[in-house]
Symmetry: C2
DNA sequence: CCCTTTATTTGCAAAATGCAAGTATTTGTT
DNA sequence: AACAAATACTTGCATTTTGCAAATAAAGGG
């Protein structure tokens, strides 16, 4: 119980690897950041650039360039927003949707395998724990408080 | 229960931020990767370069250069290994130990705050869950299997 | 109609990355 | 003992990523 940091270090290390290893889909090569961006765009409702960048706590200039890349790769579409012409609305192209779904499937396959080493009860406990942890991290005032 | 990917996405996002925000100690600026390296060196027992690079799944050439930087910053010491002169043993300098301890304290402070939103029972459940999750990820054959 | 704020992009320079190739040393084979 | 193969680590690129400062463009508020 005392070695909380150790626990988190191991977990983040592994989860980092998880992301790092799940980013080649079909012919498309994606970086970790790019897969996070696709996921967020898919998840959010007609988000602007700024909103997605904020959600991921990525510097807006870096984000702008990442989006340019993803647009060139034909995975993301930028649509001018009629109500405010400074703003672009982001969405996934059909190919972007396909790639995102593929990554999702891969990650889920991996998670499924991980959870296959647990009993039904353990699985539920672990998932509820993560849920609770996320909620408490969201409440935290120490760091990175906004993030939805 | 169904939205497992979502749960993990949120968690990794937050934990990534955690790391990203905890890397300026005293006068010293550390990147996320560098703080991971310091932590591993501290944790492992007289590790070689290769061993630490493997533990973190960092490319050995990138790692080599990161170590050069950390040596210049006077945080890490490279000691030739007498039994095998190809090998260098890594250790933290006193300053490296200090910085690592500081980061540890900061992370623990953050985690303490996060856990303060839970009951004693919840806290224990969550920590045990993470422990179990780490074990099951270690068992997984899908990806990144070695990593201790 | 200015002044401030907000959304996004570009210039630049620094840092990180990884492959290919290099050096040095050890180990295994005959 | 000699030599080929394997291992630990470093260096040379060339590419990518990053973020601060500054620019552009549009919106909003007196």
């Amino acid at each position: 119980m005392e070695n909380v940091r150790e626990l988190f270090h191991t977990m983040t290390k592994r989860l980092g690897l998880l992301d790092r290893n799940c980013c080649t889909v079909g012919g498309v090569e994606l970086s970790l950041v790019q897969s996070h961006i696709l996921y967020e765009i898919d998840r959010m409702n007609e988000p602007s650039m700024q909103q997605v960048a904020d959600a991921l706590a990525i510097d807006i200039t870096t984000f702008s360039r990442q989006i340019q890349t993803l647009v060139k790769m034909n995975l993301v579409k930028k649509t001018p927003y009629s109500q405010d012409r400074r703003v672009y609305i982001l969405s996934l192209t059909p190919e972007g949707k396909y790639v995102t779904a593929k990554i999702d499937a891969e990650v889920n396959e991996y998670l499924g395998e991980v959870f296959s080493h647990m009993s039904e009860f353990e699985r539920e406990t672990v998932l509820r724990s993560i849920q609770l942890l996320n909620e408490c991290m969201a409440k935290s005032t120490v760091c990175c408080k906004p993030l939805f």
